[in-house]
């Protein structure tokens, strides 16, 4: 198979979606993991656009000193909902929803385990999103205490109004929904694998989701406890007169808050690994060491939370610095797999591959600066400054979102049976490649020059004007790229071009079934092929040669 472009072979029967009911009701009451997964991903894409627009407004405000696009109060609401929305309502659902859609397909299972619980997870997530955002409809506006909501600021004494109440309920609902979804997908991978699909034949993406869901199950209960503490503080703000509840909240919150960073990262490592292997036309290099690294990384991630608290004077800085820096070993092994696959591959460059290739150096910027801020003497300077803002936007926007888009362009034909327009996809890529770097790189310098995060404006004499203007221009490129992405999706749905079962020459089981897959993923027309490794379709091609 040497196809370079998606095409429909004439001799192949056109795949027809065999769904009898396509009403809204049939979607929102579905027990099909593919529909629940697509609902989750579609909701998250919608929210990416809405919550991204908040960021564009903030960038407009910061373009020049002393601008008044937003009042300080509104600015505080925007950065709070931007940060918490992107984490709880966009990136985590992307991570877990992508796993929900793909894991049953990749392991040859007919459906997710406990599909009704999974659907409940979606409903909790959707309800949480509506609840959190509905704060904007109240007279005092949405929550404005920052995404990690430190008390005592988040108590009724310092932040009255229903916005915070709605935020706490919304985060708890969305967090619980993600927890349920992660649990059922993990269960699926562990017990519903098809004949021949041993654990060490699961694709790299499925393994990345297993590690993700293990972290979710370890971390998200702690988020629910943290929201409980805040809830008590809404009723009784005297709680936070005692330091133990303030610093205790921070520990409980970050015990969730750091693993979730890797929840929002791992599935995209898996997606990038699949894309690099398929478009490198070779077996992924270093499968076993990558699996071991993912699991070691997930385990170690539960011990690093205190590196968010170096400047609190109330954390064991040496210990958290040690555990955090050790993460570079499993992370470095994952990069070894990426690079060896590329160095030993025959590369093609359709849109998913471009996003996957850009992911590698861009996430690396986030990772290398991560080692810096895991070092207390450096962190004392850069924490809570724009250096940190730059760091995690390199990991999440320039890293994980590129991994997400690699996966989106790669699996969209499988999920919908439709082809996206390659030229628009590439235009989206180039706007985002330039846009993320122009937006986020200047922020490193702003942080080193002393610009704190979460300031609604600055004075001309602060000297932050030039870098902020560049960053704002970059965010405009991101907006254009996003519009192109949406146009691409709309055109592909309105003027459909049917996608074949396997447009890319894929290696994993989802490419052995139709596009979109039948209700139970595989059927007599699309049987599960024999499985001898983590690249079963490549095995068949090599055997036929």
């Amino acid at each position: 198979m040497t196809a370079t472009e998606p095409r429909v072979p004439h001799d192949e029967p056109r795949p027809v979606p065999r769904r009898t009911r396509t009403t809204v009701l049939s979607w929102v009451t579905s027990t099909d993991h593919k529909r629940i997964g697509l609902l989750t991903l579609g909701t998250a894409v919608t929210l990416l656009v809405v919550i991204g627009a908040l960021a564009l407004t903030m960038r407009a405000q910061l373009a020049r000193p002393q601008m008044t696009v937003l009042t300080p109060e509104r600015y505080d609401q925007f950065f709070t909902i931007h940060g918490s929305g992107m984490i709880y309502l966009v990136m985590t659902p992307f991570a877990i929803g992508l796993g929900l859609y793909l894991v049953p397909l990749q392991i040859g299972a007919p459906n997710v385990a406990a599909p009704r619980t999974t659907m409940l997870g979606y409903w909790l997530y959707a309800g949480g999103a509506v609840t959190m955002l509905s704060g904007f409809a109240t007279s005092t506006g949405a929550a404005d205490h920052g995404w990690y909501a430190y008390p005592p600021l988040a108590s009724t004494r310092f932040t009255p109004g229903p916005g915070v109440d709605l935020w706490i309920v919304g985060v708890a609902l969305a967090g619980l929904g993600m927890l349920l979804m992660a649990a059922t997908v993990l269960w699926t991978a562990l017990v519903k694998r098809t004949r021949g699909m041993t654990l060490l034949r699961m694709p790299v993406f499925t393994w990345s989701v297993v590690a993700t869901n293990l972290m979710t199950i370890g971390a998200f209960p702690s988020l629910l406890v943290a929201m409980g503490i805040l809830g008590v503080g809404r009723v009784n703000p005297d709680l936070f007169d005692e330091n133990i509840w303030n610093i205790g909240y921070q520990h409980v919150f970050w015990f969730f808050g750091h693993p979730v960073v890797y929840v929002m990262f791992f599935p995209f490592v898996g997606a990038v690994a699949e894309v690099l292997a398929v478009f490198g036309a070779r077996r992924y290099f270093g499968y076993k060491i990558t699996v071991v690294s993912l699991l070691a990384f997930a385990a170690l991630s539960m011990s690093v939370w205190g590196h968010h608290m170096f400047s609190t004077g109330q954390a064991e800085n040496d210990y958290y610095s040690l555990t955090s820096i050790l993460l570079l070993v499993p992370a470095g092994m994952e990069y070894f797999g990426f690079l060896a696959t590329l160095v030993g591959g025959r590369l093609r460059f359709p849109a998913p591959m471009l996003f996957a290739l850009a992911f590698v150096p861009q996430f690396l910027v986030g990772g290398l600066t991560g080692i810096m801020i895991a070092t207390p003497p450096v962190d004392y300077q850069v924490t809570d400054s724009y250096f940190i803002v730059a760091h995690w936007h390199y990991t999440l926007a320039a890293g994980s979102l590129f991994g997400f888009f690699a996966g989106f362009y790669y699996w969209f034909p499988k999920a919908t049976g439709l082809q996206l327009r390659e030229r628009l996809a590439k235009a989206h890529f180039w706007f985002w490649l330039v846009g993320t770097n122009v937006t986020f790189f200047p922020m490193f310098f702003l942080g080193l020059e002393g610009m704190p995060r979460r300031i609604s404006t600055y004075l001309p004499q602060d000297g932050f004007g030039t870098a902020n203007l560049i960053a704002t221009l970059g965010s405009g490129l991101l907006a254009i790229g996003t519009v192109i992405f949406l146009v691409d999706v709309v055109i592909s749905i309105r003027r459909p071009r049917r996608a074949p079962a396997d447009p890319w020459g894929g290696f994993t089981l989802e490419w052995a079934t139709s596009s979109p897959p039948p209700p139970h993923n595989f059927d007599p027309d699309h049987p599960v092929p024999p499985i001898r490794s983590y690249a079963p379709l490549l095995d068949l091609r090599e055997a036929a040669r």
């Binding site: 040497t2 370079t4 300080p72 109060e73 505080d76 430190y150 005592p152 600021l153 310092f158 932040t159 007169d241 005692e242 303030n246 036309a281 070779r282 290099f285 270093g286 060491i289 400047s311 609190t312 004077g313 109330q314 040496d318 610095s321 040690l322 820096i325 570079l328 070993v329 470095g332 092994m333 990069y335 070894f336 690079l339 590329l342 160095v343 030993g344 025959r346 590369l347 290739l357 590698v360 150096p361 910027v365 290398l368 080692i371 810096m372 070092t375 207390p376 003497p377 450096v378 004392y380 300077q381 809570d384 400054s385 002393g450 704190p452 979460r454 609604s456 404006t457 600055y458 004499q461």
Partner: protein, 228 residues
Amino acid sequence: MDYRAVFDHVFGIQLWIAGGVFVLVTALLVGAIVLNRARRRDKLPFAAAEHNAVEIGFAVVLGGAAAFLVWLSLSNNHALDYTDTQAGSGPQAVAAGAAPVQVAVTAFQWCWSASYPGSSTSVTGSCATPGDRPVIVVPQGRPVEFSLTSRDVVHAFWIPQLAVKRDAYPDHVNSLVMTFPDAGQWLGRCSEYCGTHHTTMDFYVRAVPDDQYQSFLQTGALPGGATA
């Protein structure tokens, strides 16, 4: 205790390492993109999908890099610790008996105040007005211990040019011991988001020679013609 010097040292080393790794990875990536295009290659450059010796060897190299970076982090963090520098003899060591000068700093929504135990002198101002920001005066060349606390929510005491930051909590006192090798005045900011006027919670720290500092403690003001 000279946070800036330690920051410059550690950050400088890390920047070189990070730059080297970034260039290496990007060079491999670009090299593969240029040399391994499917049109240029009839078959795979190499077909192996694993190589245990190389993988384990690379893991050992990464472990060594991690060990060095952990050592760099921890040893320099201890170089900033007052108790450790008293005991040690490194370049950061402080002469025994040089008890730190005490300055009590209180953060509140949305400004700062400072008092000096044993003296009736105190400092405050209006943070939102650049000309009326509080100026916390400290002696140059002697260790200064800031006792940081807050009256309401969590704030953070940050002097960007001196590369130092410590949070201020209600119901808790954080100790920050540091030295000011040079006389001068630096802008300080609140770096922990603390509500609507977090943006304007700016202050100054001013280090003056010891005789001027003593005069400040006595009279509550710096003598005329004090060096900035």
